[in-house]
Symmetry: C2
Subunit: 617 residues, 2 copies
Amino acid sequence: MANNFVSFTNVDLTDGFFKNRYELNKNVSIISVKNQFEKSGRFNAMRFNYHKTGKAPHIYYDSDVAKWIEAVAYLLLKDRKSMKEEEAFCDALIDAMAMAQRDDGYLNSTHQQMTPDLIFKDRSRHELYCAGHLIEAAIEYHKATGKDKFLKMMEKYCDLIERAFIIEKTAAFVTPGHEEIELALFKLYEHTKNEKYRKMATFFLKMRGIANEPMVRGDNRYYAQDDTDIYNLKEANGHSVRALYLYSAIADLALLENDEKLKENLNTVLDDILYKKMYVTGGLGSTHTTESFTKAYDLPNKTAYSESCCAIAMILFAARMRRLEKNSKYGSVSERVLYNSLLSSTSLDGKSFFYENPLEIALEEYAREVATPEKQRERLPITERVEVFNCSCCPPNINRFFAQLGSFIVFEEKNSLCIEQYISCNAKTAFGTLNIKEDYSTLGKATISCSNYLSDKISIRIPEWSENPKAYLDGAEISINNIDGYADITVKNTFELVLDFGISAKFISSNPSVRANAGRVALTYGPTVYCLEMKDNGNRLNQISIDTVEAENAITLTEDFHGIYSISAPAYRLKPQKALYYLSNADSTEKITAKFIPYYAFANRGKSDMLVWVRKK
Amino acid sequence: MANNFVSFTNVDLTDGFFKNRYELNKNVSIISVKNQFEKSGRFNAMRFNYHKTGKAPHIYYDSDVAKWIEAVAYLLLKDRKSMKEEEAFCDALIDAMAMAQRDDGYLNSTHQQMTPDLIFKDRSRHELYCAGHLIEAAIEYHKATGKDKFLKMMEKYCDLIERAFIIEKTAAFVTPGHEEIELALFKLYEHTKNEKYRKMATFFLKMRGIANEPMVRGDNRYYAQDDTDIYNLKEANGHSVRALYLYSAIADLALLENDEKLKENLNTVLDDILYKKMYVTGGLGSTHTTESFTKAYDLPNKTAYSESCCAIAMILFAARMRRLEKNSKYGSVSERVLYNSLLSSTSLDGKSFFYENPLEIALEEYAREVATPEKQRERLPITERVEVFNCSCCPPNINRFFAQLGSFIVFEEKNSLCIEQYISCNAKTAFGTLNIKEDYSTLGKATISCSNYLSDKISIRIPEWSENPKAYLDGAEISINNIDGYADITVKNTFELVLDFGISAKFISSNPSVRANAGRVALTYGPTVYCLEMKDNGNRLNQISIDTVEAENAITLTEDFHGIYSISAPAYRLKPQKALYYLSNADSTEKITAKFIPYYAFANRGKSDMLVWVRKK
């Protein structure tokens, strides 16, 4: 009895929308991040040799490096031969770490080299976060190579953590600032079956909101997800990535303990996100100041944080929830994130990245303050992707995500398979080898076939956006019984199921409580959210408005730069006026053709104004 | 040959819209500011006794006190008897200042008591700004009381300033950070006829943009109005109050030197403001970071700076421009400022003040960031007026402005009078005593009469908003020849001129280049800009939209709290929805009656959401 996604190790992506992204990640992004990490001194820091680059390590460096190693491990698992150079590179890195690891098991490049006095003393210093990512990397590296050196190092480190935090309680805190260790310990338990790690993870989770330890460095309990214990979660609060890592670990616990109350709790916070705190792109986090969720319906566009790491965290969390129960909202939100706020994180050439993914850019506002010294200016997100950040959590997280993308497509239920995402692949499953072939984001279609299927039904997730899905089984149309976003189809041992979800351009509105979007609409085409860019439409995009009914009936889809599909639609633009203020009956518009591009493709042609939520005429 | 406004000393306000404000200023605001200045240690600082309050003086304290003395002087000039207590208070204060003034003439409470080493060393420390305000106060106090002690102190101070800045050049700069000394020196010249002060003022003006001295404390040349010399002004840049004080002093110079080139230059910057950088309320300054103008059409509403001092500075500047030439734009902008961004500065009870006058408040945004420590939160203007600020330039500036309000109503031209503002008053002029009686902001009407008029014509400014002005001379309708915003009316020695400007509710639009206001309208009623408040309309004011034609034809005007007139109009509100995102064809609205109040009256009933620019349906 599986009740889990088919692992990427058994899934080969085939030609299609995401295969390109997978290859780009493997061949360009991972190498680009590697080069940047060498240049920025991250690898040397981890080799305990930071003097060579001359840059002091930062408290999150170990996690950056660990996520990159984890990404390499996933690729080694799929194709060890092609990644020989990276394997040797990792081996050497691991050797250096082994040399540096303290006799008591401690391993942290910043604390050992820079601030040994602060070891386990300050919950805000990312120690257990770094440890968690190192543990995840070690597990995957062991799986991929069979080499257990790194894994054993981490097990030794875990012994120390258990002593310091749980047995002897010499550590100054029990609720680490940035969650991650909890996830990692559950994974280590799953990999080693050693109950100790499960207990440790459970300990950290159950201390949260209970320990009442002092907040440091301006943290507050909301920011730190320390305002309530894990059994009383009411709404999504605080640092959004940390929150979702916490929820993911709680989902692991709920599965292990078969805890209905925890599952309900997690659905409460997830619903709070889905119905009140999520950008239409699936982006999460409305403010940069603490990279946090804010209040319900507070979704400002220009200052949207929508961190790339949080897009990944959302998919990791949703996948865990899917193991807890079959509910189409998990696949739906994953699809929304995948095609929008996650894809937007990376440039179309794979070389550069966004940390934040805003939903509006007005370049004029970036240059508004002639008289203001640079440092005092209003803080707005960057307008073009860059190769590395000072705090560079997102790029290697993107690396490791795309390397394991295959793990989010096909779900093995007790008696059959369930298709969660329409991504072209061959998936080796307990019920036979399944083939998915899609034209999903362009034509809204997918074909699922199998020649040795060991069940009599297959379950498919019906996309939220599909109003009238059609299915053709072995050439004949069949009816679809859409029950809460899923349909079960009775199939034979050999079958070909053609799905046509009826894609079309649709303008959508936001809940009227979203102040920023009142009177505005966003163009969607199947799973993809579209936006306007200055490059295509001139600046001052707020001058453009849409008659949604007219526009939906008159769109043109065109293959465009980098193979993306742009959409042209009739629109209206306010005509220029001379006066600063004038009687409103003098307003006049001219008819234009507005050109929309997928949100994920914005900022790939230089700096540009951009707008997702366009005025409704 | 006058060519000047009739001075407030010859103008008695009579019952009407502004008489109340004048009395409130005299009887409440000035006393309120006095009490706050005593409490905050400002007066003790100026008595060189700051230890008594225990608060170190700040570099702008002297100017706060000076503006308050200036306000008292204006009131003494009108009604010396009723202000005896304040006169004695000022005398004692002046005695204390005299005791503290250095033998060389220097007088500055902060520098003498706190930072003597920095005297005349740092252009950013407001020394000459404070000196300028003290000079203005001394002049007015001399005019009001005949006592010349304060004036002589200031003349001695000016001797030192001349030596240090012009003759011996021992001062470290020649372009003071915050303009004001220039204005004050021209006023001192006008009062004493001593050419020295005119030359000093001219010197400081002509050094600007020329001296190329180092900027300090993060100032840059734009911020400091030091990016160009005064003969090459192209656009309004930098700190908006400083800029307008500079432009005002340049206007004084242009008048004294009859310099057409300077006048043209000033019109260039004024037009840049009027056609590209002014809020509909007449507010100026689009960013708090440097209290500055930003780029053309950049007029964000929630973060509008629109400093109260700048409203005053705009009227002072416009009045000087009116002396340079007859152009209705000067009176128009003064009216816009007067009824909106200036009136909004003070609570309807006269006790508290705004420094910033935003055009939108969404209280939810003030509480948005649960997880963010207070200090890191996004910076937004305060939502209720307060009695005193740490930097409290605005309240005493408001005091001194309303005390001299009579000086901006009637202009004496060479051969006749010109009515610039419709404010009820009796004005003793060179052409006889004129009476103005208005119902201007409510009925759009005013009656001008005189029984001993010594000219055969009177000039009236036609308000910008008046589409079809009507005039009735001695009971009979006459035609109005509106030439560039003025009409000359032929009158007899005794006349009664009834003007009906045809007031009505009008929705106005912003230039389409104003990003913040695309698709939005503001309700105006004659000179008054209106707004929505949560108190009357519920929160999330962005849910409300207006069919402007329908609304303009169906308004109701009602006397409301504090005697203001509110306007009710049909409007539409988006109906609640459950989903966060939904197909836009499911948008629906319900008809409501929206209640607008004058912008100047916002935030008089507790904290509230507020919106000037409402969505156009």
